[in-house]
Amino acid sequence: MLIEGRTGSWEIVVGLEVHAQVISNAKLFSGSSTAFGGEPNTQVSLVDAAMPGMLPVINEKCVEQAVRTGLGLNAQINLVSVFDRKNYFYADLPQGYQISQFQQPIVGEGVVTVDMPDGSVKEIGIERLHLEQDAGKSIHDQHPSQSYIDLNRSGVALMEIVSKPDMRSPDEAAAYLTKLRAIVRYLGTCDGNMAEGSMRADVNVSVRKPGDAFGTRCEIKNVNSIRFVKQAIEIEARRQIEIIEDGGSIDQETRLFDPNKGETRPMRSKEEAHDYRYFPDPDLLPLVLPESLVAEIKASLPELPDEKKARFIDHYGLRPYDAAVLVAEQEKAAFFEEVVGTADGKPKRDPKMCANYVTGDLFAALNKAGKEITESPISAEQLGGLIDLIADDTISGRIAKQVFEDMLESGKDAAIIVEEKGLKQVTDTGAIDAEIDKVITANQDKVEQYKGGKDKLFGFFVGQVMKATGGKANPAMVNEMLRKKLDG
């Protein structure tokens, strides 16, 4: 995507550093709980509070989750990695350093295939993934002259997933984040909940004239929704273009995005130049992964979104776009597959029709109700039942829409609704024949006109017959029989 400026077109260059909270019971280097929302400083051990003489011991689950995520990102797993200390002072950083990985991360380069809204795909490079400690929380609104410090988050394991600067538009960044979130959720390594902060993004934005070298980038810290990531990139890119076009230059700096004001601004508290003085943490030895463990984790990986998408296209004959929509969440994909069902190793129901119902009517209804697929008022089995009624001509597609609405309301099975409301399609030729005769008799003038060449009136007769049967007549039969009568 190019942005038009006064001096021509500009290209946006985006790289993302995503902090994803690892799903584990205990913290990265201590035995305290990672649960969300405890009373202040209750999920804090003496290690997390950096009491004198306290030492870190690594949690195996966090290591395995990082490896799992790395494998899910098609990335290099480094069998030897090293924990470093990143030294800086901050109120919510009790040790005075964060234990992180700097020169030798646990995961190296990888690649993520992202799905664009137009159905196309793009590959975004992963630079690295490393494990590090989260900081505590500073609360500024409890007291006029003091900040309050809660260390419950202090020491919780984070994966920092760094992309290459491969994204060229806000939409690509959004698609990347969406895909990354889907992958970690499939893997069960992070819940991907951006609202609760278990996934947050630092967004690196620069602009350049197409073909030029990379421009100076600014880092927008801690953006906590995909929508805001898009907005922040757009706004930051325009700010940079304006400065450059006015003859200025971009300072490499850390900025904050203010969604209310629709602007980015420099962070005040981090103005001083940082010198983190990274060095290997002498309290920890190198992290050595047995090859067998990596193999074991690899063997236990679930089917990931890309594989699932490929299978949906191949096995069910879905369009790539529909497949991508369905695999975005594991639960959606599973729901779809349950609707389709299997019989003798083959799809039991028409996969395309199922996909249309799931991605169309059902998703629209869920969206409207603000519900997740797991909370769907219509179960997969029930939706399958509805589709069966269409397939065996019990009801028409049009009646099906009506039944679907009723199912949403009542939660009843489609067959019961059809039965109760007498919506069964009329396929009795005698009954249809009688209705056709009535319509023809009542509309002799129009019959004449039709026979005189006004072909378009055919639709009128179909409509009249359908109306007369309360929509229940089989439309194909109506068509066929009408033609015989009028044309014959």
Partner: protein, 499 residues
């Protein structure tokens, strides 16, 4: 037994006499509390816990009675009064690393090593002084003031330093105000004060004793160890202190041997390496002579002497003075006046940090934090810190090579005997040179021990150092014991009776 007899017993003797019910633990502890009072002018103790000690002694006697009734054996240090260096966090007892910045800090936890000692029946008399954050070789930088060596030059009334950083530990043991004391050794902090005060002190193999609950100075070098009057007492104490601790990632899961059983008095057939590079500049001729004497003793006892080379020795000290301050600068970042210790208020958070740390740390600590910050900072890391770690590897490799040819090394512990308080005070480099013969051992992570081997002409004690292979404290202790037997060293400071 009289107080004076009680406090002059070794741990091994006291243990056996307690077992034979010649006296009770409460008598032994009482005698040491009296000695603690009497030696107060030496300033070894920074926190005395006499009352708690007496209660503990009574409990110890009860335990002994109980075990006697049910049959069985007492814990290895049952009833033995000990001192704990202030670097160790002790539950409910102030633990300050002798720094103003930790003023008033009372931990809610007990360090693994001190907990192990208590579990083995020993009784804490109190906390003893050290150089602030264990940074020093004279125990003059403690926030509680300088500690005085009970030894004096024959011709001179000047107060001498006890060495450091475990000066309080060495003085408490030498002055009979504790039967033994814990020390920590980052560059020589057990061995140098042991040598200066005429006692034995052992720095174990890195990973032998847990660092959990010990205020960290330089994590990759720090190691706790025993300080006592004999090699045998060090063996007894080390066995009680040591052991795998899952809470310390650098603690190594190896069984703890019966160290006392290693003291066979036999060194026949052992190959003792003498590194030629340890004739350090500034080494006194008396120390060189003592070294020759030590070699002769071991030779007489049937050991084989081999000359070995540790070619990178001269680079060890400068490498140490990059690595240790670098780690310290980071380890000491947690002392920020926020969660514990002394806070000095400021207009904002940064000022609060700067004021708390500016006032809380003494000059030696500040100097090392500044140095450590510098060698890690952008642009200097490779030239200083990384280079120092490579040199550390070379120093370590030197030892590996030497141990192809010998079973242990014999060297002097220090280049000089104890110096007067105030000497070297304006010259940090001269002070740093105290560690020149000991830091190599920390860099390589090896066990090293200082045993008292004789007096110089002015009547000051001198120590010899034995360095062993990793995990071979047994050989180190055995050789130390043999040197003690040969030297017949009487570790009672001449001036002590006058206190």
């Amino acid at each position: 037994m009289s107080h004076s007899e009680l406090i002059n017993l070794t741990i091994a003797e006291a243990r056996d006499k307690l077992a034979r019910r010649e006296f009770f633990a409460r008598e032994l502890v009482e005698a040491h509390i009296a000695a603690m009072d009497a030696t107060r002018p030496l300033n070894a103790y920074v926190t005395e816990t006499a009352e708690k000690a007496m209660e503990a002694a009574k409990r110890s006697d009860d335990r002994r009675d109980h075990i006697r009734e049910i049959g069985g054996s007492c814990a290895s240090m049952e009833g033995i009064p000990i001192a704990i260096k202030d670097m160790f966090c002790t539950e409910g007892v102030p633990s300050t690393a002798c720094s103003k910045i930790l003023k008033g800090f009372v931990p809610a936890y007990e360090s693994t090593v001190s907990a192990n000692l208590l579990r083995h029946g020993s009784i804490m008399l109190g906390k003893v002084s050290n150089d602030e954050f264990a940074m020093g070789s004279s125990n003059t930088t403690s926030a509680f003031g300088a500690v005085k060596n009970p030894w004096k030059r024959a011709d001179d009334a000047a107060d001498l330093v006890p060495g450091g950083s475990s000066g309080g530990s060495a003085v408490a043991v030498a002055s009979r105000a504790a039967m033994c004391a814990t020390g920590t050794d980052t560059g020589g902090s057990i061995r140098q004060p042991a040598a200066f005060c005429g006692i034995a002190g052992l720095k174990p193999t890195y990973g032998r004793c847990s660092r959990w609950g010990i205020v960290a100075f330089a994590s990759s070098l720090d190691q706790a160890g025993p300080m006592a009057r004999t090699a045998r007492d060090c063996a007894i104490m080390l066995e009680a202190m040591a052991g795998f601790d899952p809470k310390d990632s650098t603690s190594v899961d190896k069984p703890v041997p019966n160290f006392e059983a290693a003291l066979t008095g036999e060194v026949k057939g052992l190959k003792i390496g003498v590194p030629k590079e340890y004739r350090a500049p500034g080494m006194t001729s008396e120390i060189e002579a003592l070294w020759e004497q030590g070699i002769a003793w071991l030779k007489d006892a049937g050991a084989e002497i081999v000359e070995v080379s540790l070619p990178h020795t001269k680079y060890a000290l400068p490498a140490y003075y990059i690595i240790a301050p670098a780690e310290a600068s980071s380890n000491l970042a947690r002392y920020d006046g926020l969660r514990y210790g002394q806070r000095v208020s400021g207009a904002n958070l940064t000022e609060m940090y700067e004021n708390s740390r500016g006032e809380g740390f003494g000059p030696e600590v500040k100097r090392r934090i500044l140095m450590g910050t510098y060698v890690l900072s952008a642009g200097y890391y490779d030239a200083y810190y990384r280079q120092a770690q490579k040199v550390r590897r070379l120093v370590s490799n030197d030892f590996s090579e030497a141990f192809q040819k010998c079973d242990a090394l014999l060297t002097p512990t220090t280049p000089t005997p104890a110096f007067a308080i105030g000497e070297n005070a304006d010259d940090p480099l001269a002070m740093y040179l105290n560690d020149v013969l000991t830091v190599t051992v920390n860099l390589a992570g090896l066990p090293g021990m200082s045993v008292p081997a004789g007096l110089d002409q002015k009547g000051l004690p001198l120590g010899l150092q034995i360095v062993g292979r990793a995990w071979d404290e047994e050989t180190v202790l055995r050789i130390g014991d043999v040197i003690e037997q040969q030297s017949g060293f009487n570790s009672l400071p001449a001036g002590l009776a006058k206190l």
